[in-house]
């Protein structure tokens, strides 16, 4: 990933949505499949990591893994 591409992605992902955009996005109905997928994810996560401290530790490991994968794809300056 080039630094220019990273900046363009950041501009898209960090932009502030308008009240109308937020309203429209939240107005989309939740399908039964989405509802079940999220419920299953929560069931898995809270069973695998039953305590708040374990969940926090998972988040740090997950982010480190993500960084490891993506850092190798960033072109050096």
């Amino acid at each position: 990933m080039t630094s220019d591409l990273r900046e363009r992605i950041n501009a898209l992902t960090e932009r502030h949505l308008s009240a109308d955009e937020v309203r429209r996005a939240l107005h989309d109905p939740v399908s039964a499949a989405e509802r079940e997928a999220v419920a299953a994810l929560v069931r898995w996560f809270t069973a695998r990591y039953p305590t708040p401290l374990e969940r926090l530790a998972y988040a740090r490991r997950a982010y480190s893994r993500w960084q490891g994968v993506h850092a190798s794809r960033v072109e050096p300056h």
Binding site: L12, T13, E14, R15, H16, L17, S18, A19, E21, V22, R23, A25, L26, V30, E34, R35, V38, A39, L41, V42, F45, T46, T51, P52, L53, R55, L56, A57, Y58, A59, R60, R61, A62, Y63, S64, R65, W66, Q67, G68
Partner: protein
């Protein structure tokens, strides 16, 4: 890749023992509540009078504030940084994107406290209030998080 040696439990213990009224908001609060989302930073909403206590708790971890307490109070935000990044909101109230006022004191009164270990409690807003905090920044990922939180809320109410 292993996470850095930052002692997360000791960090939350220091914050708890400081007496600073600090609400963990942002994606790490979602993680605590059972949603495995990706996050890099720690986000807190801090009582406006508690900047000194909070900064003192963070200092032993090498976290340095980006603004003086007065400058932080004026701007309503600052960060503490080293290898870790802690974003801090220090406003008494903030508006959501549709103009709803969100008050720290109200959220603090309705907070949920979770035990991380003996004597270590972390405070997060109630789910409905966490949804409101997500409507302040209102970035695309905040909207995704709101959908997740609404589903979590629905599951809890079943």
């Amino acid at each position: 890749m292993e996470p850095s040696a930052f002692d997360e439990l000791a960090f939350f213990q220091a914050v708890a023992e400081s007496g600073a009224r600090a609400l963990l908001i942002g994606r790490r609060a979602l993680v605590l509540l059972g949603l495995p989302v990706l996050t890099a930073d720690y986000d807190f909403w801090l009582a406006i009078d508690d900047i000194g206590a909070f900064n003192a708790a963070c200092a032993p971890f090498g976290l340095s504030p980006t603004r003086t307490p007065d400058a932080a109070r004026q701007s309503g935000r600052y960060a503490l940084e080293n290898d870790e990044h802690v974003d801090v909101l220090v406003a008494g109230s903030v508006p959501t994107v549709d103009g709803t006022r969100v008050d720290f004191e109200v959220l603090w009164d309705r907070k949920t406290s979770l035990d991380l270990g003996p004597g270590v409690r972390v405070h997060v807003p109630a789910i409905r209030d966490l949804i409101l905090t997500k409507q302040v920044a209102s970035r695309p990922k905040d909207v995704e998080d709101i959908r997740l939180l609404r589903l979590l809320l629905d599951e809890g109410e079943r």
